[in-house]
Structures are given as C-alpha cells and as structure tokens.
Symmetry: D2
Subunit: 362 residues, 4 copies
C-alpha cells in the first residue's frame, strides 16, 4: 500500500524535504492513550542533526497533532501529525536536478515518476521524512511502555568500531534511550565520533550497524507464514533509507553454526518458559516466544559525499561528473537509531492490535 | 494477511505436514500464461529431499492444478495447486507433542493456538508447506522468463565453505537452475556435501547462506517507503522457515565501507544507464535501477538434530529432555534455494502487475 | 484483493463450474472451534437445486476439509474446503462460447480475460462457486451461534409476492434456518413457488428480495469511515451473483421519511440501551448499536432463460441470436438466501476478530 | 483499513468537526496529473452549506495541498490536502456530550471509544469530514475527465418529489455538474427546495435519493468476486454519512421483473458492443461492460432536528430527552451529491490503476 503500513494500526506517511509539511496519520490507535509530548519531542531531538557530525541544517521539528486527540488523549480516530519544513535552501540542489547522485534515488525516481518527482533535497525520498515516522513511532513506543514493552537501539558498529552487546536488557535499553549518541559502552563513542569526523574531513562518509532489542512482548504474537514478526519488522525496516540488511538473533552468524550450538534450549524459570540462549532473537516460527526480540540492520554510508563522482545526466542520457554541495551528514547511523525504534514500535502496535483487538493498547 | 501475500498477484498457502493436501491459490495471474508442467515438476524435484543429505521421507509431489486453467493456459482467475501428502508416519512424532523442540515453533504454536495446533510433523509450520510455495512460484518464475526476467539462487556458503560470487549473471543463473546442488563453482559441492554428511554422522546439522540474482527487471519498479522492493522481498523471504537474515547488494559489508567506495557510479552503456559497481544490489530508494537484483539470506542449521536436548514440556511447564527420532535433514540450505527462487518470483509478479497492470505478464 | 475477502478472518475463493474442484480457504479462524459437519451439510443442502423450481443439475456437494483441522476442531491455521464438481455436461455450453448471454458475464469476461476465460458453465463466474462460499460461511455461522450471534434470511419478496417482516427475531431466524423455501409466512410459499413454475413454463425467470437479520452482535463493532459495517457487508453481498441492490434498516424507504419519524429513539431497557424503532437496521455511524442488523438485497431474475435473445458474437463482433439450452434455474432467490447467510457470517467474523482479537471466536 | 480506502490509489481521511484540520492523503496518483484548483474549489463550493436550506455554519474550505505536487502537477508521491476548520462554536454541543442524538453515532462512538471520542460537532463522524473526501475526489474526478471518463450525480428524489432520469448522459452530466441544486428537470428544484424549507420550518428534516452516472469507463474493469465494481463502489458509498441503501441499474425494481425484460440485449453499434437497455447499470458479473455505470443511493433525513426527542444519557444509562440547538441542515441530499461524485472518482481511479498500472491516469 505504498505509503501506508499496517492493518489494525496503520501509519500513512507523506511529505517532501522541501515541501510545506511532512507528516503522518496513525489510524487504529486505541482510544484513551495519553500523548506524552516530552517523549515525542525527545525522540525528535535524537533524530535531529546536531551540526557536528551531522548536516548543519537546522530543524526545529515543531510538530503539531491536528486530529485524533482531545486534550492529550487519543480518541481512537486517525491521529495526524504535521511537521513544517523550515530553513529550506532549495538553491543548493538545483544543479543536481538531472544529475543522478550515485546510490541515491534520483535516477530510479526519474524512471518511476518520469520527471515529475520533487527533486529538491531528495523530495519524498529524503531522510527528512523519517521525522514524521519518528513522531508517529514515538506515540506508539510511549504507549507500548505503559504495557511493559520496551524498545531500544544502539550503534552496534560504526566505521568498523564495535560497541558491546546488550547485556542487562532493561538497564541497557533505558540507558541508550537517554543518549544522544547511542552506544552501550561509552568508551567507543569517542572513537566512532572521531572516525565520522575524519571521514567528513576527507569529504567522505561512513556506515554502521544498528542493534534493536525489545523486551516485554507477550509470547504467541505473529503468524506462521507471510506475517511472521520477522517479515513485518523487515518490511518496515527496509523502508528506512540506507538500510541494506537485517538479521534476527545471531543472524548471518547462525548460518555458520551447527544445530547443536544454534538451538536455544528451553527451560522453566519462575514458572515461565525461557531459552538459555537467544540465537533466534525471540522468534520461533515467525511467532514471539517471550524472549527479547533482537535484530540488527546494516546502514550504508551516506550516499552524498563531497568528492567528484562519476554519474549520468538522465535527461540527455550522457555521462557526467557530480560534485555535491549543500548540507549532508557524514554518517546517519547515529541518527537512524531512533528511526529504527520508532519503526519497531509501529510494527508491534499493529501486531498486538491484530492479536488482541483494537482496545488492547489502551 | 497471514497466509496470503500480495495485492495484484496474491498467493494463499494452506496445509499441514500430515494433512490430506497442502496447496496454494494464485490469484491475479494474467490470462493466457502457458503452464509448463515440466518446469514446475523440475522445481519441485529440486526442493525434494534426495535421501542422501536429506530426510529419507519420500515425496512424490504429484501436484494437480484444479482451477484457473483451461488446458495448459491460465484463465486469469484463481489458480489452485493441490499436492497430496504421502508416506506420512505420524507415529514418529507422538512423543514430541508436548515437548517443545528447541528453535522450532512447537512452543510458540502452543502459545498462539492453545493446544489446538496440528503438531504432527510440524503441522502448518513444516518446511513441507514450501512445496506448495515452490509450485506456485514455479508458475510465476516461468512466466517471468518469457518476459526476459531470470532468477537464480546458489548456495553461497554452507558449513563455512564459500562458493564463488555471481559473475556472468545470465550464464550463472542458467547453470544453477539446472543443478541439484546449486553452486557456481563445482569444486565446492563435494566439500559442502561432505561437511553435511559429517555433521549428520554426528547427529548434528549445518546452515548456510543463499544468494539470489534477478536479471531483466525493468527499472522504476517498487515504492519509496513501505513497499520498497527490499521491503517486499524481505517480507516474503522471512516467510521461509530457517531464514534469519537478509541483505541486499553488499549488505552488512557495506556498513564497513566509506561512501566513496560504496557508491555505485552511473554510466551510460549502449544508451542505457548502468552502474559500474552494484553494491546496492540493483535497488536505489526502494526502486529497481535496472541492474541485477542481488540478495543473500542466512539459513540457520536445521533445528531438529539427533542429540539429547534440554527443553520443556509445555503442557505441565516442566523441564524435560528431548531426543528426536524420525526423518530430518542435516541441512536444508541446498533445498531452500529453490524455495527462495519461487518466493522471489511471486514477489516480482506482484510488483510488476501493480506497476504495469494485470495484463502485463501475459 | 479480488478473490480474498477480509483482514483478520479472510476467505479466498477458487474454482470454476466445470473444473475439478471449487473451494475456499478460511484464514484466521480462532483455534478450538468445533466443526459441525451436519450444520455445513444442511446449509449446502439449502443451496442445492431441488430440481423442481431449480436446475435439475445434480450436485452432491460432498465437501472435504483438507487442512486447518485436527479431528473436528480448528487449529487456527488456514482451513481449506474442497468440493468436487460432478455431473458436468460441458457439451451443452459449447454453442455459447462466443455468444454473449445477455446480462451474464460472458462479454465482460471476454474483455477482461481476452478469450482465455473458462466459459464452460459460466466458469469462475458461475453461481456454482457459491457452494464454496456457503461451506466457508457455514463454518463461520456455526461459530457465531456459539457466541450468541444468530443470522437468518428469508425471501421477503419473489415474483411480486411479499412475505411478512421479521417480528420475533430469534424465533423467526430459527424458523427460516430450518426451511428449504425460506419464508416467514408459510402461506406465501405456495404463491411464490407457483409463480416461479409459471415463469419457468414460459421459458422465463423471476427475481426477488432477500432480507437478512442478525441478532446478538455486540455494540461498538465497525468503523466510522471506510470500514463501516454497512460498507463491509455491502462489499461482500455484491460479490453474490445477481445482487443488484442492498439497503439497511428502512433503506430506500427512509429517504421518503422525515427525521422526526425516521430517527430511532433510544431507551434504557433492563439496563441496556435499545432503540424503540430500528429504521437504521442496527447500525449508527457505521458501527453496531446492539439492535438487530437488518438488510435486504435485490436479486435479479436469472439471466439465462429459454427464449431467443438478441445478442452478439464477441469473436467476430456481429449481431446474433441466442437460444439457451442446458439446465438453468427459473429463480435463484430461494437458493441465494443461504449464500447471503454465509456471506454475512464471514463478514461478521472478520469484523469481530479485528475488534476483539484473533482468539475471540473460540 | 478503517480510514484508508484503495490499493493502488488509496485515500486516507482524518480530522474532526472541531479539530484544527481535516484532510486527506491520496497515495498512488500517477505523476504528471495537473491539479485544477478551480475545479476543486468548485466542487467544495457545491458541498458547502448555503445558509438557506443548509446549516448557516460558514465554511470557507480554503484547502491547501501540502505534499505531492510541484507547482500544480502531481509528483506521484502522497498528495496531502489540509482544510482548516473555522467558525467553530463548540459551546452549542456541550449539552449533547452524554445524550445520544438518535440515529447519530453518539452512542455507538461511546461503545467503541469508551468516552474518549471527540464529541464536539460529531467529531470524526461529522459530515464535515466529507469536505476532505470531496477535495480528494475532485483531484481524481478531474484526472478522469482528461481520460474521457465523466461522473455526475443528481437529486433523483427529495421529499417524495422525483427528478427525471438521465437521458443524454454527457449533456446531463455536464449540466448537473454546473448546478448548485443538482436536478435534471429544473422545474422540480423549486418544489424540492420548498419542501425542505417547509420541513425546516417545522424543525424537521427530509431525505432523498441520489443517482450517479459514469460514462467513458473502459470495458473489462473490476473483478468477478470480492472486488466487483459494485462491491467497491458500495463499500465506498456506505462510508458517506446518511447513505442507507445503494442499487445499480434498475436495482430493487429489477427484482420484480422477469428475465425476458430484465436482460439487456447486446448489439453491435459502430463496431462496438452496446446493450439496448441498461438494466444492469453498466456492470455484468462485477465487471464494466462499457455502458454507463448507473447507481442510486438512499439518503436518510438529517438526524438532528429541532424537536424534543426521546433518548438516553449514556453516561448514567438513563432515559432522557434531547432538544437540539446549534446549526443543522434540514436536508443534506443536495449537498451529498458532490460527495458521491468525489467518492465515485476515487474508487474508479483505484480500479483503473489496478487494471492498467500506476501510470495509466497520467
């Protein structure tokens, strides 16, 4: 359904980088959920570029909820979030209009939209749109917390520097959710930031790996075939620009293991089923088993860099060279982490409402 | 939609390992597609266990198409494929009924279906159901070939042994589609098979990585946000049992690269846009760019092994030990490759029919 | 989604009049629902032609449930019903293949399927397919009854002869569900049957109006805009061949009333809200209000009649004359009533599962 | 999907009567469609109350398109329309908050949203939301006209006074699309308006019947079972507040006809198939046959009237009496006609894009 995701809780995204508004409509939220504006604002802040290792574009993200609430409480009808675009400098992008930025969507947008696409700042493909996704996801994430479901994402790896794994999940999730640069091991923040700055100083960019954990999910949610929890989460995560891979539990590493070590033995602990290891990332047969859901995404290095690049002019179909100007992030992995949290929250709200009904989240 | 995938071309799966039939309904296929029964039979053969490095369960897979065709030509109305289950030995599974096989869906099925699930042979969660997916996908894959779109999958890695990468795509795709054990470099087949046999001899199992390539896809197919080609393919791939990760193009490796090497420079070649590298796997901004679509999935080692495993009895919620009997594969990666082809074909048929209309595939 | 209806409980239909099987897949049924085969067989019998005022085609409708149950209990995974086609006489239809039967789908099928449609006996457009819909709906209707939700349909009008309205809903629903020719006032059965026989003797056909009542639906089910209960029911009802109109409550008659008489005053009765009249048919703002849901459909006279009809040959696009042979019903309204019951049950199961979760129907 | 309608062209509605904005997102529109703001403004004007036979609420409907266009041309990405609410007098509604207006959604909203609904002015259930539907539909209707597809609706009946039928479709459609009070026979306008004024003077309200015609639809659009054109149109029409019935072609009247007169004989005219009568309203077997699509909806009298009404207080579940104040229409049939046009256009755009692909409407 293109720009709408979900059945029971469905999010519709709209907007362009340099349009009047970007925004999102969340349909199907239970009535009676309290909107915590500080929570939303905090998540938007974490996504926002800080100007040091991010684009100096100033974004205030002063969102407004223009439908679906009375006071600060959801009504159960579509909740619409508007975020005005500010500080827009279209001029910087004029040259690019017919030069395809390599690894961007410029050329594919041309193929799909035949020249009618809004090419200013990436238009509808811009990472800017994720601000609307974050705002919508913040509403969902906050509601999930009231049901005891917690989501957190850290920069597992950036510029080949590794953070440690999740250990005490609740504590680690709480910790990263407070951090601007979300690493579990504070020592690696400096290394990562320096690596980003170094790449930036060379006009280049770096990528990384994001790891998300979810705790508190009831067991028995998800479907055996096409709507496995992995299917729904991956469907959503590949909507996030720059994501080129996703893996659950041990992921690609499990393919090198033998069954005898890969299998997660079940045990009874305090009357509840647990697994001793969690190589399957909390999901068996597409359905939650009550253990933490753990997955990682591969974030590619920012496509726009300040080096001359071979490319084409897609209007006259000739070879060309592109030199980017404007404001661009040398890395987005540290900003994308909050997008991943938000996106995860949306998927889980939908899965839970499908499983337990439309009032469940209340 | 649980067991239905797709909008314009939609596949519905049904059946259990030990039920009367498994099957699939393909709705929305263009009218006038010729069904090539040899093609379907060949793909079903490639999925079938061969008894040497697979379960000795005999499956004839004598499918019947019981609706949606006149003679051998599609009518445009739902095409239904039935595959009878044969050689069923339910007795072997009786012990397991309340013991959760680790890393299987037994426990999560119990949580979701409250004891009503068909637990014989994995029931609806069984890899057996993929035979129906393969048959449905074979119809789609064959139709795509007539439009110049070719799909092939090889065992990129198994038991830590690597196959070579795709090189000449058309040639390599043709080659693997003829092979029972799909590797590009024939030399690694022996090593992989021996590693599987060795694991089997120890009552253990191995996993691997599957790599799929698609050539001939028109550029401009897919959607910027929630229905990116990556979203749709990953949604489908995580429906395949044992898949725990997926990556497009360079995938997780791209997260270690810098933008200057990760970016795929565009060039004009014979009047057509190409990229000099294909680190993005043929997809920019969720939309095809005309280059080969390349992705890899992580296949976990078969969960059922012949070693005593710690687990629980989920009826009385006590710790237990499980020793598997019956017929099980020491590896499924070499069988899953054809499932991945089939699943890919279904996704692409849907995406193309959404883009170009319901007659396009004719 | 063409041949699939529903989100949480979804039914997929397949088959052709003269194919091997017709059938349906019900996905999303709660686990633990007991299948009452007598109930299903009874509903199939009510749909079946009796040879007196219906086509003499013999249909045994020996359905089989080939997936989704263990014993007689649903597992929660897709339940597939197969009904073999018997007593097929394709020869009778050979002449019609390029002559469009007026008011049938022959010409529109040609436009859509370009000559590839199965034209034998109406193919996928045949009323025969409703047998699968009835079987699927029977499973749903039986499950709803165990939750106190009862559905019944009577022939409100046939050949311009009127049956009385529903009065004591529970009693009337019980009564019609036992009758082969479903009228509330037994006296009008003879008149209607005679009118049908008379039309048949002249090679002609008659239509009628079906009225359905549903009692026991919880209040608060349905959505304000696009998924109003009326929207979902009408979407489904227009899938039934020959339905050309639907109205809820007073329907078209309410458009002649004034607000002061059309409005349904609320009252409290035994602590529960009721309305003194039910001109809105149990639905306000698209959402159930706890009163009986009442709606009527207009069933057109059977299109195939035994008179020479002006038509076209759509192969060579010339005028032609068609004289129908074969087996055809002079009326289908008395058979369609059970299709309407079944179709209603499917819609309500989906709406209830969306509202209360996937376990609700158990 | 609640507040989203459509697969390939999908419209999402949001907003409340007294919220900040109402609006709509249209996703999936072809790129390159020119937006005709006069066209949209004209349609919004036709929906707007005129103060004489409508509520004196002033609505300027100064919509803004805030995404999905560059200049006045669609980009192919989500087009978002915002309409600010003005002239809001919430005070008038305060008394009603726990008194259920009979035949309104107040009580059912309470059942569904548990007291969290926005009850000011009907909230999300308000007819006000149709302004957003009209704006979205205006974009679609204008685009269809450029493809030769024309839609028009007239007040077929109001307060028991009949307008004439469509005769010369193109001429009649053009005529009604210019009229504020859409009747084909100008003589009946006065009678209808006087009847409305008379009812209003008694504090009462009237209903009516709307008839819509569509010409220029290609043949072969729609699906045999669940996505018949009738199913999709009726699904949408029952989303319009006050619609309680819909019929296609001869509709309920066809149920009194015999097959020999109901059947529409095909003929070849100028090399094209036509039918001599159009009792089936341009649709056979759920699929367009190229003849005009004709359908009628039953519009109930406005529920809010200025007479004391028996009702309940749903907070304390007691009997009560309600006397409405505020601004209300004594009839809405003459305003709903343009909503019906808009809604029809949305459905057809989706059906056409599904059939012919996403570029078709360009």
């Amino acid at each position: 359904m293109k720009n709408t995701f979900g059945y029971s809780v469905a999010v519709t995204l709209f907007g362009e980088s340099h349009g009047e508004y970007i925004g999102a409509v969340i349909d199907g939220l239970a009535p009676g959920i309290e909107i915590d504006n500080e929570y939303i604002a905090h998540m938007l802040t974490l996504r926002r570029p800080d100007g040091k290792i991010s684009t100096p574009r100033k974004e205030k993200d002063e969102y407004r909820i223009v439908s679906g609430i009375v006071g600060n409480t959801t009504t159960g009808t579509p909740l619409t979030i508007l975020i005005p675009n500010e500080n827009v400098k279209s001029g910087d992008y004029s040259e690019m209009k017919t030069l395809a930025r390599p690894s961007h969507a410029d050329y594919t947008a041309e193929c799909k939209y035949h020249g009618y696409q809004d090419s200013r700042g990436g238009g509808h493909f811009s990472g800017r749109i994720t601000a609307a996704l974050v705002a919508a996801g913040a509403v969902c994430k906050c509601a999930l917390e009231k049901k005891g479901i917690y989501i957190g994402t850290h920069v597992k790896r950036c510029a080949c520097i590794n953070d440690r794994d999740f250990d005490n999940f609740k504590q680690d999730i709480d910790a990263v959710n407070k951090k601007t640069f979300a690493v579990l091991d504070d020592k690696c923040e400096n290394d990562m930031v320096n690596a980003i700055i170094e790449a930036a100083s060379e006009g280049d960019s770096v990528g990384g790996i994001l790891e998300t954990a979810v705790i508190g999910m009831p067991e028995g949610v998800g479907e055996p075939w096409f709507d496995s929890i992995e299917s729904m989460l991956s469907h959503m995560m590949f909507s996030i620009p720059a994501v080129k891979g996703i893996e659950f539990g041990k992921g690609f590493a499990i393919s090198d293991m033998r069954g005898s070590t890969a299998n997660d033995p079940f045990r009874i602990q305090d009357g509840k089923a647990i697994t001793e290891t969690n190589n399957n990332g909390g999901i068996n047969g597409g359905i939650t088993n009550g253990m933490p859901i753990v997955f990682r995404t591969a974030i590619k290095p920012t496509a726009t860099i300040f080096k001359a690049l071979d490319t084409i002019n897609f209007k006259d179909m000739t070879d060309a060279v592109l030199e980017a100007k404007g404001r661009h992030d040398p890395a987005i992995v540290h900003r994308a982490r909050i997008v991943q949290d938000a996106a995860t929250a949306i998927v889980l709200c939908d899965a839970l409402a499908m499983r337990y009904g439309t009032d469940w989240l209340k």
